[in-house]
Each structure stands twice: as C-alpha cells, then as structure tokens.
C-alpha cells in the first residue's frame, strides 16, 4: 500500500487529527460488570460547604500559553481540518473507512500488546494476539474485524502513558500542544514512546510514505469517530477548562481501569 503526499501541511493536519482522535475520541472502554469503579469515595461537597475544595488538582502553570495554543488549534480545526475531513468522508463510503481503520488498528497491535504486558493485563494481551491472528488471516490482512463481529473479541486498548500512570507516575504539568491538543508531561512521553514502537516505522517506508501512512490513518480515524471536539465546544462555557478537566478525568479512569483487568 503506497500513499504519497506532496506537502507537509496535510500531514500535520492529519497528525493533529490523530491526537485529537486518540485522546478525545479514542475507542471507548468496555468494562466487565464486576469492574465498576467506586465513585462515592470522596464527596467533595457533602452538603457542607466548609470542606469545599478550592484548590486546583490539575497543575497548569502554562495556562496563558496553553490558552493561546487552544485558540490556534480551534481555528485550525474549523477552518482547515473539518473541511478536509468532510471532503474525505464524502469521497469514501463509511464501510471503506471502517476497513481502513481496522487495518491501521491491526498494524498497531504490537504497541497495544507491549503495553498490556507491561501493565500485567495478561488476558487482554492474549486477546490482542488472538485478534491479530484472526483478523490478519480471516479479515484479509486486517481490513475486516471478524474477531469482534464473529468472536465477540473487542479490541483492548493500552498506551505507554497509561502504563506509566499504572506504575504510579504523576501527570506532570498540563500541556496543550499545537496541532496535537490536550496532554501532559507523562502522556507526551508515552506518545513519543508509542510512536517509536510503531512497526510501520520499521518496514522501510521513506519519510514521505511514512507520513502519508500516518496522515491517511489519522484523517480516517477522525472520519469514523463522533465529533467529540465540536460537542465539547458547543456545550461548554469555558471549552479550554472543559477539555482540560475532561482529559484529566478520562485518562485517570483509563489508568484506574476499574482496578482489575479491563476488557476494552
């Protein structure tokens, strides 16, 4: 499969889509019935205003800079990315985009496998291996997902930021990256490590081809995911804070993972 791009701009756009995609519109977690987190542990309120917590939990010393980047990314999204995504989504039928998404996910199995193993989630690791085998053979190189549709094996997800979190690493300060969006020190490191571990980097593509692959993968991801970013903007009074808080809680929930092995 050969995909060419002539300029770096679409590639950057796509990269951003990917990060938005993977941080905000990541495939959601399915949870085992017995793995429900206890959300009643801390009542920060308890009808008693005296205990009211005013302190911020999220460290965001770069807020003014982050907010400027937020505005930049927002414009980029509405002026460039969204039109690109819309054209792409119109050009390709939903089924095909679904197949491309399956193919890309199948190829990234090794990253998920490494992270499930590092996190000690052995049954999830086995699911990753089984899914890879089934989908590569029966799903024609991973374009189909018979593992999910025929064997009810849904894809586990795991990333290195999550692995670090499970070993007790703190988030570090909040970072809002140009193009890439919400993150923090821990998850930025995690993303760099996961990127380095992607097998696509080791199959001898030249840099244009590699970026083209990522770009297509990323626009595609966005085209099959719900518009979480736009929803957030629409329903928030301070979208910057809404995304910062949402990202923090979402990542925390993924790291806690219900306490036991998660079968996502």
């Amino acid at each position: 499969m050969k995909i060419r791009t002539c300029s770096a701009i679409p590639v950057l756009l796509c990269l951003w889509l990917f990060l938005l995609g993977s941080s905000l519109i990541a495939p959601v977690a399915a949870v085992a019935a017995d793995a429900m987190p206890d959300l009643l542990l801390e009542d920060e309120y308890d009808n008693d205003y005296d205990d009211w917590q005013d302190a911020d939990i999220i460290s965001d010393p770069l807020e003014p800079w982050n907010r400027a980047v937020f505005v930049f990314n927002d414009k980029l999204y509405f002026w460039m990315l969204k039109p690109v995504k819309n054209v792409y989504a119109e050009a390709l039928p939903h089924d095909i985009r679904g197949c491309i998404d399956n193919f890309v996910n199948n190829l990234s199995s090794p990253i998920v496998l490494i992270n499930t193993l590092l996190q000690g989630r052995f049954s999830d690791a086995w699911t990753v291996i089984s899914r890879f085998g089934i989908n590569t053979v029966l799903g024609v190189y991973g374009f189909g997902d018979p593992a999910a549709s025929e064997f009810a094996m849904h894809p586990p997800s795991a990333d290195f930021g999550q692995t670090l979190g499970r070993y007790g690493a703190g988030t570090g300060i909040y970072l809002y990256w140009p193009i890439f969006g919400p993150s923090n020190v821990r998850d930025t490191l995690g993303r760099v490590a996961d990127f380095a571990a992607n097998p696509v980097n080791y199959v001898g593509l030249n840099s244009d081809e590699a970026l083209g692959y990522s770009g297509t993968a990323l626009v595609n991801r966005m085209s099959v995911s719900p518009d979480v970013y736009e929803e957030t903007i629409k329903y928030s009074l301070d979208p910057y804070v809404a995304i910062r808080q949402g990202y923090y809680e979402y990542r925390n929930a993924r790291i806690r993972g219900g306490g036991t092995e998660e079968n996502q």
Binding site: V28, L39, Y49, L237
Partner: protein
Amino acid sequence: MNVRTAVLLFLLSVLLCPVVNAVESPMAQLKPTLKSLTDLLADERLKGDAHRDERRAKIMKAIKVGFDFEEMSKRILGRTWQDISAEEREYFTRQMIKLLENIYVGKLESYSGQQIDFQEERVKGKRAQVSTTIDNQGVKVPVHYILNLTDSRWMVYDINIEGVSLVGNYREQFKSILRTDKFAGLIKVIEEKNKSFEKGQASL
C-alpha cells in the same frame, strides 16, 4: 392450614412490612425514569424538528421525576452559593436548569436505541451510585449515575461517562470564570450560552 403455618405467615408479614414501606433501591427507582426517557426518544410520533418543542417538554417532565437539577446547580456553583442573595439563587437556578436542559437533553437526543444494561448499585448513607453500560455497536460505554436521597426518593445529581463527571466538569469551568469575572460575569456567560441554544433552535 395448620397453626404453625398461620403463625409463620403472620411473623413473615410482620417482618416484611418495613421492607415494603422502605424506600426502593436507587436502581429500582432509576430504571423506570430511564425507561420513560428512552421510550420518548424512540417514539416515532415525536421525532423530527417539527416536534422538537413537544418532545423537549415531555422529556423534561420525565427527567424531573428522577433528576434533581437544583442540586446539580448548587453543586456546580460550589461555595459561591453561600455568598449570593435569595433572588440571585433563584435566578441562577432558573438559568442553570435551562442550561442543563439544553446540555443533557441535547446529548440525550443523539441516543438511537442503544441497549442500556444496569450493572450494579452502591449505597453509602444518603448517596448512591448506579452503574450502567450503553452498548454502542458492541462497545460498552460505562455511564454512572450518582444519586442523593431526598425525602423518600433517590434523585440523580451527577452523571459520569467514562470517568468524566458532568458536575465536576462544569464546576471547574465555573471556578475559572468566577475567578476572573465574579458571579455577575458568570451569569452573563450562562445567559449567552442559553441564547446561543435558542438561536440554534431557530435556525433549524
């Protein structure tokens, strides 16, 4: 029926009486509320923009049975609730109910018949958590309802989707606005947001 059976039955009825009178479990109370909501959302006669107002009115009526928007508003505002006058509280709550209606009902309306599974409930004193999963094309999304026991009913005051709390998220946004713009500024932002939803409605 012999005497023994009669005595047993009598004892049983005495023992069971308080159970019957006691408050139903949070899950048992939430189930019919969610059922009436999903029924309304699935109702073909209420679909489409032409029936938007009627649909919203019916949904709001059904929601109010099990959701406590006033409690939500208080929790979102936090300590500032204490610093404002009775009139301000009243006005704030009215605006907030409008906002939450726009947010929650707007989100609900994207529901398209997915299966809701009740997983488990947890009760701690006057608070409870009911955990559900929504089946979205084979992927189970966890949605937790946090409830408060008011009088004799369990009322939802927070919804947690995939670890993200609705009340917590808005509370952080409010905190940030209050820090720079104080209460008057916050009210303005809420009013503007509500207006933007009305405009969106007009343009549909």
